[in-house]
């Protein structure tokens, strides 16, 4: 059994490394700037979806607060860059620290309370989003124009820098997600998801585990916000605090398959691509078609797209049987 596990891990690691290398050299192969920016947006969304999954998919605690961390990360980076003249690359870890701090603070308050944990947590994340966006708007409502980053070797252009940053972040998130999935820590998180009281009964410190998941998740989102803000350069509250950043990662993960590590990746890539394609042509009709397609997909793939991979065509034909 041990050998098999090691081998599978090896397969996964190799595939990821290969994929990462290919994507890393893509800009050098002369692909168009548009594809670079499109892929950048894919990496950001996948990071968001994967990080959401680490928290909500693994522990079962639904978070609506990704927007709060994303926006705060973006502004933490922008503010320290613009007002304190801190070099951009250093603002990224600062952003991560800020969002981790926010998560820690929130977690300390909400994870300890025993009754109605899930709902309380969900509400606090909703509240956090509003609170952080208002604080930012009232202080920096004008938006911040960040200082230009200079292009340097081995990067061939400024967007290339952000592309690479986003790619690294994305790969890192996926790796963390897989590592968690395979590890003891991850098992404990799943145990919490399935039945928190039982998990605690067998000695799992649910508070500690939830805090870890939450902090990792929000740290990644903070980084993502900083990278995104740097790429946009003109960081405006309404943009980075858009509810889309809370909503879409949830949809992507559910679409791809919650609770597995590959689900959010699938969902992220597919939805981002579809949204990009849908931009042209008759926007309104495209959206209606898109919406209808999503409905159809969700009916026939109840566990998300990953269901298709897991069990093949045979399963799709058999309806799920539930007790009523």
């Amino acid at each position: 059994m041990e050998m098999k596990v090691v081998k599978h891990t090896l397969y996964t690691v190799i595939s990821i490394v290969v994929a990462a290398l290919i994507l890393l050299i893509l800009p050098y192969l002369g692909i168009s700037a548009f594809i670079i920016s499109f892929l950048l947006s894919v990496y950001i969304w996948v990071t968001l979806a994967v990080s959401w999954n680490i928290l909500s998919g693994y522990t079962g605690y639904f978070s609506f607060g990704h927007t709060a961390f994303f926006g705060s990360g973006a502004f933490a980076s922008a503010v320290t860059d613009f007002y304190f003249d801190i070099p951009y690359f250093i603002t990224i870890p600062i952003a991560g620290a800020v969002t981790t701090g926010m998560a820690a603070g929130l977690g300390i308050v909400t994870f300890r309370l025993r009754r109605l944990r899930g709902q309380l947590f969900a509400l606090t994340t909703v509240v956090l989003t509003s609170v952080s966006s208002i604080v930012v708007i009232n202080n920096w409502g004008d938006g911040i124009v960040m200082h230009s980053v200079k292009a340097f070797w081995p990067f061939i252009s400024i967007p290339h820098i952000f592309y690479t940053l986003a790619l690294i972040l994305c790969i890192a998130s996926i790796s963390i997600s897989i590592a968690l999935y395979r590890s003891r820590l991850g098992l404990n998180l799943f145990a919490i998801r399935d039945d928190e009281e039982a998990a605690e009964a067998i000695g799992i410190n649910s508070f500690k585990h939830k805090m870890i998941a939450f902090c990792i998740s929000s740290m990644l989102v903070g980084f993502a916000g900083a990278v995104f803000g740097g790429w946009l350069k003109y960081v405006w509250p309404e943009t980075v605090f858009s509810l889309n950043y809370s909503l879409f990662p949830i949809l992507m993960t559910i679409l791809g398959g919650m609770g597995t590590w590959i689900g959010p990746i699938l969902g992220g890539v597919i939805l981002t691509t579809i949204f990009q394609i849908v931009a042209g042509g008759e926007a309104i009709l495209n959206n209606i078609i898109l919406g209808s397609l999503l409905v159809v997909v969700m009916i026939f793939l109840p566990r998300g797209i990953f269901n298709l991979a897991l069990t093949g065509y045979r399963r799709v034909r058999t309806p799920l049987r539930h007790p009523p």
Binding site: H8, F34, L232, T239, L266, I270, Q276, I277, A279, R315
Partner: protein
């Protein structure tokens, strides 16, 4: 929240799961990349609107001639016995269109103005094509839907410029979107004309041009014009005022200049109230205003704010003698009925004399209003929003024709040095950040119609700024 599912048990070993997952991922990944590649490699199917093809005749004579953008080669071959065969290679067909690319919010929170701009632009393109196109070539738009989502802007503009390889671009709608696309325009040195930008001091790109002549110092110039209008047209200045503005950067910018200007005119600013963009409940603000009882409320708001505040004021029982704003959705204010009368706002264009003395302005008004009604818009009058969008294309047109070139730098340099005749009159771009003098006027809703009332050169003949408002109450 827990997932409870009972399923048929197919023995799923970890190995199967992982391999299947990776395989699935690979299949999906390849599929997506292939699909993407195929899709984007081919001609993109964006929203092409309106093509009028023109056929041009070519006189051949043994040389290479350029026809509407296509190069044809004509060769004469001489063979014994003396026969001269003239072969024309290359196609002489419909001229290749000039494509102008940009985005508009067709869906999402800004779609209300997005649809207005879209219709105005249709009229503008038709006018261009009816008058000879750009250098003899027909003009088309390629418009993407940015879904009112700023993060789409850089990607979509990159796509337009590098993927679809459009000939020219213009700006999207609304200040933050225009700001987001500016770095992309700058990177590719594309001339960048836009219509709805409210931060003149941030338009630092060399070839950025605003069709809305807000004036570089709009924070000082607009309030000054407003108070001048009150003084000279209404004949009366308020003694006290309250500034109510939202967190939109442009609104904040204008509001920031008010206290200084008010002081010059001897008006006391009682308070400055800031509210969040997107506020729907104005009752608290209205209650506060009722407490303060200023003679004038200067609102820095946009779209639905004015309508909501005015309604709230009515509910609260306090309507000030004067209420001005910046960029309301006129339709929303008119929907208030008689309550909407008296609201002052910015305007660069209204469908009345003297604007309509210009032939092209009349053309614009007629065609825009026809299309707007057909599309089913509730508010179909041609005014500032539609006007600035139309003018944006006018400026591009004059730039192209004036410089006789489709090269962005040529166009940009020409615009900087020349005057452009637009539906609002003559615009120049010779000031800081390419802003000319302010050409934004004082308009007011009177008897259910929005008209320009000041300065006299642009006011509807015989009109006056109405102040104080007969609706005032609660003092």
């Amino acid at each position: 929240m827990q997932e409870k599912n009972q399923e048929n048990t197919v023995k799923i070993t970890r190995r199967r799961a992982i391999s299947s997952a990776v395989a699935a991922g690979a299949v999906v990944g390849v599929g997506i990349v292939a699909g993407l590649g195929g899709y984007f490699a081919g001609a993109s199917t964006g929203g092409r609107v309106e093509t009028i093809t023109q056929k041009e005749t070519v006189t051949v004579g043994g040389q290479t001639v350029t026809v509407g953008g296509q190069t044809v080669t004509v060769t004469n071959t001489v063979t014994q016995p003396t026969t001269i065969t003239t072969t024309v290679t290359g196609t002489v067909g419909p001229a290749k269109p000039v494509v102008i690319g940009y985005t508009l919010p067709k869906t999402g929170g800004f779609a209300a103005n997005g649809v207005i701009h879209d219709i105005a632009d249709q009229v503008a393109i038709k006018r261009i094509n009816d008058t000879g196109g750009f250098l003899g070539r027909p003009v088309e738009r390629l418009v993407y839907d940015d879904k009112s989502d700023i993060s789409q802007i850089p990607v979509l503009y990159e796509r337009l410029i590098t993927q679809d390889k459009v000939d020219l671009i213009v700006g999207p709608y609304a200040t933050p979107f225009i700001a987001a696309a500016m770095p992309v325009a700058e990177k590719y040195r594309k001339v960048y004309i836009f219509d709805s930008y409210t931060l003149p001091k941030r338009a630092t790109y060399e070839f950025a041009f605003s069709s809305w002549a807000t004036g570089y110092n709009t924070d000082i110039e607009w309030p000054t014009l407003l108070f001048e209008a009150l003084q000279n047209s209404a004949g009366k200045l308020p003694k006290t005022l309250v500034v109510v503005h939202n967190t939109h950067p442009g609104a904040t910018f204008v509001a920031s200049g008010v206290p200084t200007v008010a002081e010059k005119f001897g008006i006391e600013v009682l308070d400055v109230i800031k509210y969040e963009l997107g506020t729907t409940d104005f009752l608290p603000i209205a209650t506060r205003l009722k407490e303060l009882k200023p003679e004038f409320v200067l609102q820095g708001g946009l779209v639905l704010d004015e309508s909501n505040l005015r309604k709230a004021l009515d509910k609260v029982g306090f309507i000030p003698y004067g209420h001005s704003s910046l960029w309301p959705a006129v339709g929303a204010v008119l929907g208030l009925g008689p309550l909407g009368d008296g609201l002052i706002s910015q305007s660069v264009f209204e469908a009345h004399i003297p604007f309509t003395q210009d032939a092209e302005a009349r053309y614009f008004v007629e065609n825009y209003q026809k299309l707007a009604k057909e599309a089913g818009l509730a508010y179909w009058k041609a005014d500032t929003q539609s006007g600035t969008s139309y003018a944006m294309f006018q400026i591009l047109r004059e730039g192209v024709r004036g410089s006789n070139s489709l090269n962005d730098e040529d166009i940009g340099n020409w615009l900087k040095r020349n005057k452009v005749d637009t539906i609002f009159g003559e615009l120049t771009f010779d000031g800081p950040n390419n802003y000319g003098p302010m050409k934004t006027w004082i308009a007011q809703i009177q008897k259910g119609e929005q008209i320009v009332v000041w300065p006299p050169d642009y006011a509807k003949p015989g009109s006056k700024l109405q102040y104080p408002s007969p609706l005032a109450k609660g003092y």
